[in-house]
């Protein structure tokens, strides 16, 4: 598939597979699943700024879809919401300008790879920590709200990362909640709108690439939804979250000028995710009649 703005070719099957893997991770791990999109696209030959711009457009679609699914939105005071969104927007504009400035200096790709190399293992560590009894969520202080929103905006506008936005006064997500970070995604809509517009105007949003990723993401999310019913949250975070450091290693290989090895590692990771999903679903389906028999026997005895 030819990308007219980036003037390069990418494998469309690989793009759908990347979307599928990301969709699976998003459903099972929450917003950290989106972190694999930019590294995987970059490894498969999409220029870094185009990968960020296209991921920004995809995050905009996901945020809008999340809002339509749950129109009640984040339950916080309007003044706090306005300040948080304004800070995130300022961060987003600064991040986008910074990335375009780095592109002029030919430093955009190494800077992005470094940022993701740090972010992916950190996200995995946080996911594992959330699963532990003493893990819970990090303490939130009202004074940290604005810098955190600024950082989340900077990460989305400059790197296409969907970081959670801690809003002062918002209800604390439970430590073992399903996708507890998902409700913060609609807060990033203004930043995602700006990023999509600005990167689009700079010729860094490929709508063909976006469409293929969206198709993969929808399929992956549905597969993840099937698995979600049959697999405990802690197991999911441990087993499927391990894909995040694998993507970090692939990025390192790409930075060391070993693109084939990096590409194979990404494909192998997605393949393992698919095999794991199939295995767990098959095990759950096979176990279901036995469980039903046990329940029937139990009822008969009672």
């Amino acid at each position: 598939m030819y990308l007219p703005f980036a003037e390069t070719f990418v494998n469309p099957y690989a793009v759908v597979l990347i979307g599928l893997g990301a969709g699976l991770l998003v459903r099972l791990l929450g917003s950290p699943g989106y972190l694999v999109l930019v590294p995987a696209l970059n490894i498969f030959g999409v220029p870094s700024v185009t990968a960020v711009g296209t991921t920004g457009a995809l995050l905009l679609s996901a945020s809008v879809a999340e809002t339509f699914k749950d129109p009640s939105g984040p339950r916080v005071r309007r003044s706090v919401l306005i300040i948080t969104v304004a800070a995130a927007l300022a961060g987003g504009v600064a991040g986008q300008r910074l990335l375009l400035a780095l592109r002029e200096l030919d430093l955009a790709a190494p800077a992005l790879r470094l940022a993701y190399f740090a972010a992916l293992p950190a996200a995995f560590a946080l996911l594992v920590r959330r699963g532990k009894p003493d893990g819970g969520t990090p303490p939130r202080h009202p004074a940290l709200g604005i810098p955190a929103a600024l950082a989340a905006g900077l990460a989305l506008g400059g790197a296409g990362m969907a970081l959670p936005v801690p809003v002062a006064g918002a209800p604390e997500p439970e430590a073992h909640a399903e996708g507890a970070q998902a409700p913060t995604l609609p807060l990033l809509i203004p930043v995602a709108l700006w990023a999509t517009y600005a990167y689009g105007a700079a010729g860094a949003v490929e709508l063909g690439l976006w469409g293929l990723l969206a198709v993969g993401l929808v399929i992956g999310t549905h597969l993840g939804g099937l698995l979600q019913r049959h697999c405990a949250a802690a197991e999911r975070r441990g087993a499927f979250g391990a894909a995040l450091p694998a993507f970090a290693v692939a990025l390192l290989l790409r930075q060391l000028h070993l693109p084939p090895a990096a590409g194979y590692l990404v494909l192998l990771t997605i393949l393992l995710l698919m095999v794991g999903t199939g295995w767990l679903l098959a095990a759950a389906l096979l176990a279901a009649p036995a469980e039903a028999r046990k329940m029937k026997e139990h009822k008969r005895i009672v």
């Binding site: 945020s63 105007a201 709508l207």
Partner: protein
């Protein structure tokens, strides 16, 4: 007809790149709204 429309669209976009930014926003928001609505309707049907 379709080719003429595509050629006219390309000329327009080449004239002002900001239009492509607006087009990207419109496509992303439209697709997100459609996906969210379908998911909400399917959720209601499943609950019902």
């Amino acid at each position: 007809m379709m080719e003429e429309l595509l050629a006219a669209g390309s000329t327009l976009l080449a004239h002002d790149p900001r239009l492509y930014g607006l087009l990207a926003v419109a496509v992303a928001v439209g697709a997100g709204a459609l996906a969210g609505t379908v998911a909400a309707v399917l959720g209601h049907l499943r609950e019902g």
